[in-house]
């Protein structure tokens, strides 16, 4: 009646995807990151190998309009200036990479031009050595222009451009293919849609090693359970050998700060700022326990909490 640890062996493996290019690789980044590579469930080191730790990409939003007030107070004045914000991420806050979210392109709000945003991206690239992801504002026509300009201006840097969606992916895919960048493929909380999105990009001519999947991370209390199970299913599908699901996953956990109950004043639920930090850290933690390879986060203290927890999961600091 002896006990034997029941181990699982899977046939599939997550593809390794490189983000950013150093001088030798044709860019100007100080490092190249690699995501993915695992052949088992997250942190199951007793039966599988995961050559790369989960990456933390920190948010840089180019308009304070999109930064929740609680976060503005908590993170200080850097949030008013994307260049300064990116510098903080690289220095003090220890991000692996940044995602520059060009929300000010929004034609119904600031409506900043592609040229302005191209020069902002250049400035960020000059100011920090971190690999960079660049997202548009979500308006298809405008994003086509903005992302194309950004892509051209950052040739060779191996940015990841986003978000490619089922109804709007061609311009982003074309912009990335033209200059050696990658693409973040977004799908709305559904394993079949995630697969469909990857197929569309592959059919369009993109190489799998240039695709990262964003299966939509719903924050804690806002449907986290749907995302948690969706990520688990995506990961199991990839491990069981479906090549179209073997791209690394990125989960944007910055949404935790948009959850009212995470940040509203309610002394019964403890101090609001710290509650928000736990909210984000636990959202990101759930994402990687389910199988995410990369998380996008906002608050430096949540990042610290998350990193310690991941080190603990990886077998000690």
């Amino acid at each position: 009646l002896g006990f034997e640890l029941p181990k699982e062996k899977y046939g599939g493996r997550i593809k390794e995807v490189a983000i950013g290019a150093t001088k030798e690789q044709g860019g100007t980044r100080s490092r190249r990151l690699v995501a993915g590579g695992s052949n088992g469930l997250a942190f199951h080191s007793f039966e599988s190998e995961s050559p790369h730790k989960p990456l933390v990409v920190m948010d840089v939003v180019d308009t304070v309009r999109m930064v929740p007030e609680r976060l503005q107070e908590s993170m200080g004045s850097a949030v008013n200036d994307p260049v300064e914000w990116a510098r903080k991420c690289e220095g003090e806050w220890g991000a692996d990479a940044c995602v520059l979210k060009l929300q000010s392109a929004n034609p119904e709000e600031e409506d900043r031009s592609a040229e302005e945003l191209e020069s902002l991206t250049k400035k960020v690239l000059e100011s920090v050595g971190l690999p960079l992801l660049v997202y548009g504002c979500g308006f298809e026509e405008k994003d086509a222009k903005v992302i194309e300009a950004v892509s051209n201006a950052a040739k060779g840097e191996r940015l990841f451009l986003g978000l490619a969606e089922e109804k709007a992916y061609k311009s982003i895919a074309a912009a990335s293919m033209a200059n050696g960048h990658g693409v973040v493929a977004f799908s709305n909380l559904d394993i079949n849609l995630a697969k469909q999105m990857n197929i569309l990009l592959l059919d369009f001519g993109m190489k799998p090693e240039n695709i990262i999947m964003d299966p939509l991370m719903a924050a804690l209390g806002m449907g986290l359970e749907y995302s948690y199970s969706n990520i688990e299913r995506l990961r199991l599908g990839a491990l069981s050998g479906d090549p179209v699901l073997q791209m690394p996953m990125i989960c944007d956990c910055s949404c935790a700060w948009n959850v009212p109950e995470a940040t509203e004043e309610n002394p019964d639920r403890g101090q609001a700022e710290l509650r928000g930090i736990y909210w984000e850290a636990m959202t990101a933690y759930a994402a990687v326990v389910a199988g995410a390879d990369i998380v996008i986060m906002r608050h430096p203290r949540a990042v610290g909490m998350f990193r310690d927890a991941v080190a603990d999961l990886s077998g000690g600091a």
Partner: protein
Amino acid sequence: MPSPTFQEVRDVPTAMEIYKLLPKKNCGECKLPTCLAFAMQLANQKVSLEACPYVSPEAKSALEESGAPPIRLVTFGAGDKAAQVGDETQLFRHDKTFYHPTVLGLIADDAEGIDAMKAKIDAAHAAEFERVGQMLRVDSVAIRHSTGSADDFVEAVKIAAARELPVVIMCEDAAVAAKAAEACADRKPLLYRATPANLDQMAELAKGKSLPLVIGGTSSLEELSQMADKAKKAGVTDMVLEPGDGSAGMVLENLTAIRRAAVKSRFRPFGYPTAMVLGASTSDHMKAALGVMKYSSIVLMEELPREMLYPLLALRQNVFTDPQVPIQVKPGLYAVGEPTEKSPVMFTTNFSLTYFTVRADIEKSKLPAWLLVVDTEGQSVMTAFAAGKLTPESVAKAIEDEKLKEKNTREEIIIPGMVSRMSGKLNELSGLKVSVGPRESSGLPKMMKSLSG
């Protein structure tokens, strides 16, 4: 999916296997003509083995064993707030569901003195939050004997046992634990814990008082399985396994191994719920989150700061939501901000996610509004519309039921852009002007600002 379902792994014996174990007297006392007929009904779980007066004790235990659930359901505490743990059948919640939410307990240690312990007992009982119609709470109080006096310890156990929450008696000295158990055996406390050093005494105590017992303090899972086996042979029926501490990675490995062994391999010594005991550091808080997601039935913690507790309870609620049954909010007319009879009115469905998203977007406008939540049995706008659960009729009925026209004189309702097709009919039925809102609720602040401007 690579994970087999419960039905596939559950080795329920066939009718022929059962028949071999029956007395084959064909006496008919079970109300079935033959033993074979009885065996067939048993295999389909239509009758109970109790109906056979002649079955041998050996056959009985063999049959009960093979028909038992992969993880035993263990109850501790008494009354409405008794804690139930175990009886899980899945490795992944999407394969069916997780049934029994992780029980959270607050530890009161006698090193802190009796007053501090009393304060903690109070604190555990006070930690309750309402969230989407459910009460979220700390579920138990653990009284721990460490360096304080045994008398204080027993006194605290008594005080805790007189309250509603289930009690965990944390004491490895079997004599002291016996005193504490004596004081509250009728409240069915959980005994913590049998270790390799005190297994015999603790097993005897648990058996004598019919109390559930935590097994732990081992250096390996192999040793833990041997102890569980030994405790079972000593007559302990309800056990909880504590695979030991270490890094979060180790915790994940151990809990995964136990769950897999129980559910997939039907390894009997691990067919019990699990527990972990944590300290008060931030890394312990994150380990608690891990325990909730990855198979810990009970998590006992030294401190439960509310900034951490509330998100942790929300996480537990999320993870233990049945994937087939969406969380719903109560249908009705909700005030966002402090709306007046002139404030705009909009509607959405009672799927909690939809409601929260819409509400948050309205709040972003910083303008007051009325939000009418229509009962769609927890479906989102598009799903409910497609399924005929969100119709002009159901919206008109909600307007009527909530007496909207008495509370608001605007005579207008904003409808989700996705269901613009119901505009005409809704106008006809309700008599209200129907304005089509944005397709995504993120567009609401802009629309509301233009309405007020």
